[in-house]
């Protein structure tokens, strides 16, 4: 049963049902009672409604991610869970996998648990085709939906993003300014955020009249050996590059190993920039220059926005943070 069913059964508009649930004064007492009767008759008290009616909630937030073993997603879950706990909310996590079917199922499961809000972690939740995002819009009819690193313009959907486009564009521009013109872009995802990163690279190369070089890795996101071998094959085929921008720190680590295998000096023979500024950036020698996408700040802002929405039914719809280039040993000084 959705808000549509209630409006139909009560014979009033959706906007009226919404006003009743939000306790607005612009509803006649008779209409108000009619809507509440329908809700009571059908025992329909999901939490978004319960909140409007002042009923108790379970104070739980559902978190969905594709794969909790991904370093970036795991870290986001860690921050969100801690911040929600500070606000006296518990969290329930569903690992949805990457398929649309299992995503729909996972979201349904969270809605059944009557959570107060749902956070979709990771940019891979938003598809290019509107029909594929319908299950998210449906969920938003009753429960606020927060997107971390995704964007979708819809009622009751809120987005917090890192400006991946500008981050990669500026990092590429900086590498060009250090005198390197043959820069390879190495990536492994064409998610919403993946596309934006790649556009940033392409724009910087184009602006400087340079030929872009792109290499896509289709294997497992932890297979650093496989990534290294793919780069070595490029070398065997005569493709030379003295700079490499990676869409993820694992791909950048593969570039460091590639240079070690070929006896190239970093950063003199090869400059490398990673993405995420994860623990991996500290693991290699020299340590990795990497783009920090301010994950903790993003998560804190998302939690704050969600708390605003749950308290006042109002929150900032879209927020974009700037990334920071953290300079370490794999890039030259300007």
């Amino acid at each position: 049963m959705t808000i549509y069913d209630i409006s139909e059964k009560a014979g009033v508009s959706i906007a009226t049902v919404s006003r009743v649930l939000n306790g607005s004064a612009n509803v006649s007492e008779e209409t108000r009672q009619r809507v509440l009767d329908v809700i009571e008759k059908y025992e329909y008290t999901p939490n978004a409604f319960a909140r409007g009616l002042g009923l108790n909630t379970m104070r739980t937030i559902g978190i969905m991610c594709a794969d909790s073993s991904d370093l970036y997603l795991a870290k986001a879950i860690y921050y969100l869970e801690r911040q929600l706990r500070e606000n006296d909310y518990r969290c329930i996590l569903c690992c949805s996998g990457y398929e649309l079917d299992t995503r729909r199922e996972s979201l349904d499961l969270l809605l059944q648990q009557k959570v107060d809000g749902i956070i979709l972690v990771g940019s891979n939740y938003i598809y290019g085709q509107a029909a594929q995002n319908k299950y998210i819009l449906d969920a938003a009819l009753t429960t606020p939906i927060m997107l971390l690193n995704g964007a979708l313009d819809a009622p009751n959907v809120y987005s917090v993003l890192c400006d991946d486009y500008t981050s990669v564009q500026e990092a590429t521009g900086r590498m060009i300014a250090s005198g390197i013109h043959d820069i390879l872009y190495f990536y492994n995802s064409d998610s919403y955020s993946g596309k934006r990163k790649r556009s940033g690279y392409l724009n910087a190369m184009e602006t400087h009249g340079l030929e872009p070089m792109q290499e896509f890795f289709a294997g497992n996101h932890e297979d650093i050996s496989g990534m290294t071998e793919q780069l070595l094959r490029l070398h065997q085929n005569g493709q030379a590059f003295h700079g490499l921008i990676a869409a993820d720190d694992t791909l950048a680590l593969a570039a460091v190993k590639y240079a070690q295998t070929l006896g190239m000096q970093i950063p003199d023979d090869l400059s490398v920039i990673g993405y995420n500024n994860s623990i991996l950036a500290q693991c290699c020698h020299p340590e990795l220059t990497s783009i920090d996408n301010k994950l903790e700040a993003l998560c804190q802002h998302l939690t704050d926005t969600l708390m605003d929405v749950l308290t006042d039914n109002y929150g900032i719809k879209n927020t974009m943070f700037s990334g920071d280039l953290i300079l370490r040993g794999t890039t030259k000084a300007l």
Copy 2:
């Protein structure tokens, strides 16, 4: 309401309630009906009961871990979620933190969701004092509890472990056999598994008549710089060692950085063995020799056991797997 309350209200023993729920034939029809009446009257249908009565379940398993950003725990959750999904079960994850209070709360939350079983991931769930484990025993009265890398001898509690003791003992013995006698043990946890690892090291040193050296790191589990600095302080204070066994790969990576800072050659001047065989083991140069604790196999066995318990009310109580030493560049050949 627990199984105790039902037995009291029905005026029968707990064993009888259990027999009714498991569909045993050794119960008179009159007694059976009395127990079912109590259950129905109090609308008590947690899933363990529902299964016994042939009612539908939600086919969900609750997973609890202390901190989902820990590489090892994140990986375990990833395997478990995938394997449970293959068995047509969904998973709900609660990050419980490391405090007893938030653990109790998280377990309660999962029980309220009427999950079919609960998996506690990580050896830090089992305390030394029995009173602190009571909340787990209480939960086991209605819901099967699976421990990954913990052990607790109690009804309806099942354990799957890696033999951390023997793994570290053998790794230490191997390093001694390669001619290194001054071996430091570097650790950051005194959990159930942490204690077992340390005992393995101590036993190996003692057996060979060598003086043990132990160093505890109290900081954040990802603070590789802090770990490195702590090792450098040992050096400044004149404490020498030519071998290092680490309780985790992050600690071993710090040892590699320590050697790089001092211009020591690995493995000639310093041999290093890590633990977990995580992605970090592939990140440094030379790559890290590390103990593989067979996490995927452990998770698969745990899932299989849980499926047995849910189907037949019977499963293997305790299973211990052997670890494997994965030899890479940070140790000498024998």
